[in-house]
């Protein structure tokens, strides 16, 4: 089996349920997919369950949320049933996550340098000098031109794009196998988006990582990723190659594509998505390779 064929991550029949006062709410309903050394995009609107899927894989969902799956295999080993202690060594070290707004995911009272060093020290046993060197190296790898200055600065002194690059540096310093990026560029200006994406792109390629890119932006995902999964109401409704997205068959995907205003094509009216209740009921499509 060639390197390209082995699956880094295999998810089968993932469910995430939340008990509420008026019954159980199923955020993710029977999602199955696999991830290799590729860029996998998960696209959906709010409430589709895309973010929950990412968090469920990392077991970040706390009570009263309930996560269950037939299997979640990381390199063939099940990570659903391992203890919380063992999971801690997986999180960050083997699977990492970059979230939407660096304002909310960076600690405001620690310097950037301290945070990156902490992220490194959690998974490696190096001297302080070595840790600092690695941290500065990582800052350079995300195209930060003055790493010493940024090292000593606080998160609120950074712009959005800078903050997100620091997040990426922090998340990649332990050299994980898989990166889950949950709307990493949605809070950024469009010109900064390209910069951050290209850094993520480069690093993922260089290190042979798998990337799960969660977003609501269909165009962005189809131009950035290799494969795309479209989620609706907790299920995957379509899985296809990114460059074949415009040939998508499911009416929801088509509806989403058609309801977007296009720069290159003027339209009198935007097509309004008509939600068919049958979409909720249909079986989840498998996102396996």
């Amino acid at each position: 089996m060639s390197d390209k064929q082995t699956n880094m991550l295999e998810v089968e029949n993932l469910w995430v349920r939340f008990p509420t006062r008026s019954g159980v709410f199923d955020a993710v309903r029977g999602v199955s997919f696999s991830l290799g050394k590729e860029r996998l995009g998960i696209v959906g609107e709010s409430g589709s369950g895309k973010s929950m899927t990412g968090r469920a894989i990392l077991r970040l969902i706390r009570k009263p949320g309930l996560v269950s799956a037939d299997k979640v295999l990381l390199d063939g080993k099940d990570i659903m049933s391992i203890s919380e202690r063992e999971m801690r060594s997986v999180r960050g070290q083997r699977i990492s996550m970059v979230m939407q707004d660096p304002k909310f995911s960076l600690n405001p009272v620690m310097t950037v340098g301290a945070q990156i060093m902490e992220a490194y020290a959690l998974h490696a046993n190096s001297s302080k000098a070595e840790t600092k060197r690695r941290a500065l190296e990582m800052l350079e790898a995300v195209s930060i031109r003055d790493p010493e200055r940024v090292f000593r600065a606080y998160p609120h002194e950074m712009s959005g794009g800078m903050g997100q690059r620091i997040m990426i540096a922090m998340m990649l310093i332990p050299d994980p196998q898989i990166l889950i990026a949950d709307e990493p560029t949605s809070a950024l200006d469009v010109s900064v988006q390209t910069q951050v994406l290209s850094i993520m792109d480069k690093l993922v390629q260089e290190r042979g990582m798998g990337l799960i890119f969660i977003s609501h932006d269909l165009n962005l995902v189809s131009s950035f990723c290799d494969r795309v999964l479209i989620m609706y109401a907790g299920r995957i409704v379509e899985a296809c190659q990114a460059d074949k997205l415009h040939e998508a068959k499911h009416p929801y995907t088509r509806g989403l594509l058609n309801s977007l205003p296009r720069l290159d094509q003027p339209q009198k009216r935007l097509e309004v998505l008509k939600r068919d209740p049958a979409w909720r009921e249909a079986e989840s499509v498998s996102g396996a390779r």
Binding site: S198, S223, L260, P261, L263, L270, E271, V272, L273
Partner: protein, 254 residues
């Protein structure tokens, strides 16, 4: 003349060393009945121009004219009847403890309308919400529904000009389509003038006929939407913005 005219507008915050110039020397015209877009990234000053127009900015200089009235330090009640605004975040633009009915009846009352009940029903219908939404509170409404209520509130005084501050950027794609269609319909029905602020070029291209591109508080280019679609910009920043809006181009980067 019922359009908007901005001349050499400067808006700043703070004094002395702390002074931040949010808008520098901006000038543009919007004719009555037109739809004009202000495009730029965050910090470009586009939303600040809207706030200056509505009297929500304290320090400004230059000339502003809207709906036939030359604008000074304070806005008259007549101004608020003719110029209204729809805010960006539907989750923040409705008072959490006021029902839809309260929001609309207060608006109508403040502008001195009578027959408030009938008008409320009519407004809800105009924005595509049925009467079943009338007594709901904001937390019982979805983002798209809240934005419709915000639009109904803006339409209540029967304005001539609507200022739209990124009205769909906080909404899902499918909901965005509905709201944009609604705005297009309302403009035709009520002969409104739109000044729309957005960072999304595709949305602005759909809604507007002419646009002004802003960067760091300055207007760098004013062009027609046709020219934008033809990828015919003159200024380098506009070119850059257009390119970035087209999605990720791997070949260009690596």
């Amino acid at each position: 003349m019922s359009g908007i005219s901005i001349n050499n507008l400067n808006v700043w915050f703070g004094e002395g060393i702390n002074r931040v110039d949010a808008v520098k020397n901006a000038s543009f015209q919007v004719d009555a009945g037109d739809s004009f877009g202000l495009v730029g990234e965050s910090g470009s000053g586009k939303s600040t121009i809207l706030r200056a127009l509505t009297g929500l900015a304290e320090n400004w200089s230059g000339q502003m004219e809207a709906a036939g009235e030359v604008l000074g330090k304070i806005r008259s009640p007549a101004f608020y009847k003719k110029v209204q605004m729809v805010f960006q975040d539907p989750y923040a633009s409705l008072h959490p403890r006021h029902s839809v009915d309260q929001v609309l009846s207060e608006t109508l009352f403040l502008h001195g309308f009578d027959e408030i009940d009938t008008r409320i029903v009519q407004l809800l219908e105009d924005v595509g919400l049925g009467t079943s939404f009338r007594f709901r509170y904001p937390h019982q409404l979805s983002g798209g529904q809240r934005q419709r209520v915000a639009i109904a509130r803006a339409l209540a005084p029967e304005p001539e000009i609507l200022l739209l501050d990124e009205p769909t950027s906080a909404l899902d794609v499918s909901v965005q389509a509905e709201i944009l269609n609604l705005l297009v319909d309302l403009r035709a029905e009520h002969q409104l003038t739109y000044l729309m602020v957005s960072h999304n070029l595709a949305v602005v291209g759909h809604m507007c006929e002419r646009i002004a591109v802003m960067q760091n508080g300055e207007i760098v280019e004013v062009m027609s939407v046709e020219d934008m679609r033809a990828m015919n910009p003159e200024h380098a920043y506009t070119k850059h913005l257009l390119k970035s809006s087209m999605g990720y181009d791997r070949s260009a980067v690596l």
